[in-house]
Subunit: 218 residues, 2 copies
């Protein structure tokens, strides 16, 4: 983790909501970090202030005692990490991990400085509430998926939601995304392959019949 | 649903955070309702203001297209309903249902009046953020349970968490609580019964070996 200290710190869209005075308060109480893909940014034991993602993508996920994972949501440019809000409140942080999926720049603002701005700035208050509401909605979506949807539909939707029909991911990574075991993903992918929906090779899944996958034709 | 209009409306603990002026603003922009057990209070299509539970217990849950349910959390005396916060923000409410489990008194405060108070009152802002954080934590707990725990452990913990060793609930109700099918609950309860952990009768489960149930001795 590399600490930056010599640049002006800007966090869109927070900056656009601040007065000049508030912006300089943030600048003098914020620290920017450039981290490489794979770095754990937050682990439920650290309260280092309010955490913002300036650029890059971070994944927020839960891990079981046995090491199984499930993704709750991802944060991107300008997003606030809701886990760090519990630091502001002086309460225990929520139990989840935050890790950088790409090279990522984050900024932490000290709790005291941020609390002073939050108290006076209605737009910042709305940003905080809307962020918490959006993340609550994200996690409710995960509950909906894991409780009400079969793993076949969830795997199909995962494959269809990728930017390209060629998905670079190991069965292990897909399992961690969906909160299931690697064996379950492997079995289901083979089933999709037999049905002519995907082709499989090491570390890659190619969707060859997106319409069939969407329609559940397996 | 019976509307009350002739009483002073008080919502602990919100009231304790308000100035006299704010308290009278709330009073003139709030409506109290007394509802009977089973009433649906919120269904994701209605934005009637910020909803508070004054007394009683309400259950917040999700329902699948096939009618299966899972409980996300319960709200009690003085709790704010986080689904109604999206109304304040002018965004779509979160997709969940809120229903009264007991006879319940709720109060709705108009969005405009509440927004005016929220903007100026730092203690109310903290209450809102801590409520949203607590509910996010609740729903993350549900994800943890449904993804990482077997239904045997979840059913055992459900039975152990009831106030008495005699649990009045149908298999259907327990299934709706845990987000599974009735048949799964019935099968697992029979398995517990064979292991001498519970006895079953119509609409009731009696825990006869709490230590065994806790230790997973089935």
């Amino acid at each position: 983790m590399k600490r930056e200290t010599h640049e002006t710190i800007t966090i869109p869209p927070l900056d656009s909501l601040l007065t000049d005075e508030e912006r300089s308060l943030v600048s003098s109480h914020a620290t920017a970090f450039d981290v490489t893909a794979g770095t754990i940014l937050f682990d439920s034991t650290s309260c280092k202030g309010i955490l913002w993602i300036v650029s890059g993508v971070v994944r927020v996920y839960m891990v079981s005692d046995e090491g199984r994972e499930i993704t709750l949501y991802r944060l991107r440019d300008g997003d606030l990490c809701p886990l760090s809000v519990s630091c502001l409140l002086g309460s225990m942080p929520l139990k989840a991990l935050v890790s950088a999926e790409t090279d990522t720049r984050v900024v932490t603002i000290s709790n005291d400085a941020f609390a002073r701005i939050h108290e006076r700035n209605a737009a910042v208050q709305r940003l905080m509430l809307s962020t918490m509401t959006a993340r609550l909605s994200d996690v409710m979506w995960v509950v909906d998926q894991v409780v009400f949807r079969g793993i076949d539909r969830r795997l199909a939707e995962y494959l269809l939601s990728r930017p390209s029909e060629l998905v670079y991911a190991t069965h292990e990574e897909i399992a961690a995304e969906l909160g299931t075991a690697r064996e379950v993903v492997s079995r289901m992918l083979k089933y999709f392959e037999k049905a002519g929906l995907v082709t499989l090779s090491r570390g890659r899944v190619r969707v060859v019949d997106a319409a069939g996958l969407r329609a559940g034709r397996a």
